[in-house]
Symmetry: D2
């Protein structure tokens, strides 16, 4: 991983304005930037972290994209899922090798990519999508990164018809009305299984939480993450002037066992959940 290889994805960054390009390097290829051209051969066979220059002498860094970079630069035509949210969701859903993770909808595949990277080589990710063109984009995005094979299974389906899987360890929902699919979610998750969904508006937050309460999910949590960038110049360190103020509310819950038997019979609190 020290030397840039043909076929590698590279993050090429203008040193002056930090404009970024995500490029698949190919012999004979060239990156056309706003400050000149970089032939791919300038990068291939060299160490990562090198400075290359365009014919206009503009300097660019050639870096291996981090997982966060891959997520941010994925080709998309839907709402964005950000690394700040994905990193936290992965820990809240215990996404790791060996787990069965179900997702709907696939969208552009940003979350699918993160799930695949976090569960490889021993996990299994099943991703549902109802729109054929979105699924096609996601599959193309995954193939570009060459990491999905053997890990991710894509299914074209309206999840109102239910999931095929049972005993899933975790399920992530990114759909406009999550409360419409909670019986299907409960049927898919193993007892104690982990659930997460994201929703942008207050109008969605209220019925989502109400639905989880009614469906007897446990440990319902709603959170949001704010990411603040700083100007990292040592003579004038300060927060950036502007920031992304909202991506989504994150809602988490656990599937509780049905008919959880009370250890003592006749209590007024027996119906608590």
């Amino acid at each position: 991983m020290t030397i840039v290889g043909e076929g590698d994805l590279a993050l090429v960054i203008n040193l002056r304005d930090e404009k970024r390009y995500l490029v698949k390097l190919q012999a004979g290829g060239a990156l056309h930037t706003h400050r000149g051209i970089i032939p791919h051969e300038e990068c291939i066979g060299q160490p990562w972290g090198r400075i290359v220059r365009t014919q206009l002498n503009a300097p660019f860094m050639v870096l291996e994209p981090s997982t966060a970079d891959l997520i941010k630069h994925i080709k998309r035509n839907t709402q964005i899922l950000f690394p700040k949210d994905i990193g936290y969701i992965l820990l809240k859903l215990s996404v790791r090798p060996g787990r069965l993770i179900v997702e709907a909808g696939t969208g552009s595949g940003g979350m699918t990519l993160a799930l695949a990277l976090a569960t490889a080589p021993l996990g299994r990710v099943v991703s549902y999508e109802v729109r054929p063109e979105m699924q096609a984009l996601a599959i193309k995005n995954m193939q570009k990164h060459g990491i999905a094979e053997g890990i991710v299974e894509f299914k074209l389906r309206d999840i109102a018809e239910g999931f095929d899987e049972i005993q899933a360890d975790a399920l992530f929902l990114d759909v406009p009305q999550p409360w419409d699919y909670l019986p299907q979610v409960a049927a898919c998750l193993r007892s104690g299984g982990l659930f997460a969904t994201i929703i942008p508006t207050m109008n969605q937050a209220i019925p989502t939480i109400a639905g989880l309460e009614a469906a007897s999910f446990g440990l319902i949590e709603m959170e949001e993450l704010l990411l603040r960038h700083y100007k990292a110049v040592s003579t004038r360190v300060r927060p950036a002037d502007r920031m992304v103020a909202h991506t989504a509310y994150l809602v988490f819950a656990r599937k509780m066992e049905k008919n959880s038997p009370p250890t003592e019979q006749t209590s007024p609190t027996a119906n608590y959940i």
Copy 2:
């Protein structure tokens, strides 16, 4: 993973006040709560997600702890590393199976745990600590979770003496004066390798960034994450009254190749980095 086994770690949560207990379940054991006693046998052999009750009829959920739960409940006597920060750092440092990740200092092992879970089964984590008692606590914490074996190597060393590893994919520093160790960090990382450090004060932020600038690291970024909890009760959804307002500033950078040769000779911008 559907049935609770002996030796499993369980997160036991009071349904009334959400007070939480992280317990290693053992035959004959008992959890003493502020609302009565739960014999471990009530949990072992049952499905996860079940409600059990104390002899005082107080209901508790028995849940498998998520990775986020494990991190939050680790036994510690140092500053806290939070799931919100760890999840983001894992994505920014591309921590995944197969990678060589170096960390210093080990502290209570919260980050070590997260690194081990994210790189297993094929990765390698090396964690340096200078204080023997901290290292002992971290090792004990890891053994409790039974996940470090074969993944994490603990080293007792002042990193001023340097790291043994070279060509590390990523390095995470959690020490009071990160700027003191940047030559050692540069010697340990492969070209293009990923670097992260966390620091709580502005007084540390400025020399950390200045040090990275002086040591010719690239793509220096400073960020912070704010996590806001909401009251997840459907009839009155609202942000929680109080929140953790600060954990740490996160600083990221990339190791650049030394003596990166300019593609064209005589430019006034050749010394840009």
Copy 3:
């Protein structure tokens, strides 16, 4: 205002732990702190900003309370209105001398105090409250500060019956269901008049905005303010560990003129508002 007088309100602050006391100074009085006693005579007749000591030699600062201090230390038995919100609302509602400002409900009188201070000596504040005991507390709070006379008029009334005033410059509503009183609000405000309300939950935000839309208010805005304290010690400047994460959502709007005549007759957009 340089010398502390008898009858003055003083903010007395422990230098060690910053614990604060708001005291009305009286000859013969004494402040009993957790670190000893300060006779009021130690303060009266001395300059503001002096350090005094208890018989246990604990040092305290004697300061004139700022408007922000007065608001924070008001005796209350209701939800808190914070200086950060009040300061912003005063500017959004153009509260200044000469204006007629209507408020409901009075609550503990924190906002009433701020309105009185901002409109004196030439303004007029009318404050409605339906609960006699709350009104009594607010009046007592105002008398303690000796600033309401001639400025604030308190009325005991359910505002469902309407406000007496017409042509008010601004109206501030702090009631559980603001959307129930919008016709009354519209009848009270002059055309173009400024409206603000505060609500803590998402469940209230949605019907409040829907009500304003239905009642043809203009320039509807919803905002919130987050105040972050820093540890102001020069050797380790950093955000405080914890903060107040939520006080209320602030909603602003303008009363539009009814039957605003279109300048051109037959447009499909004539019914826009």
Copy 4:
């Protein structure tokens, strides 16, 4: 204040895209918008809060600008002071009628405007500026609003030479290096007087706090305010996508009495401040 008069400042807002214009209305004048022309006569003599239309039938609201609007729309060529910060500073500095408030530098006069509005008709504001062209702009801005006369006194001076005033109730500093002027500040404020300054970077925060500590100021506080806008549409209420992430750090302190005599003689804590 119900009827729009000639010479009034009006805030004219496009109902479609909320684009705003601050206009001084004059007989014969016309507002040229991106959606057509509005003759000032359409507004003058009509009630505030009316909808007017351009010749292209685009609807605009005609509103009296609030204090917050005036501050935001002031003509400036310097860093911005926002209503969120100004409203809070006014309460922290107890700016109200009857007070003597000193300010430096004047800048574009946004804060000066707020100070004048908050202290009229009985207060006194003195505003220092070292750059003649900035002072000229501020005076022009104040005359446009017609509110400074008799309240604000502008002085052209490098405050390194000191302030003329003594016994000021409050002093607000908006200069690049506030720590350079603390002796001058201390000489200007009355004992116990209120001090505030704003600074954008961490590099300024540390010496500002260190300077206040060294100069024996008391109750040193550093805070910042984050203002979050929401999309106020009742069917999809949500935080705005982007926000201003940073304006400035706010630093507050109190002038302590010099040589504050200890009430008891020989204490090891006598040098605490």
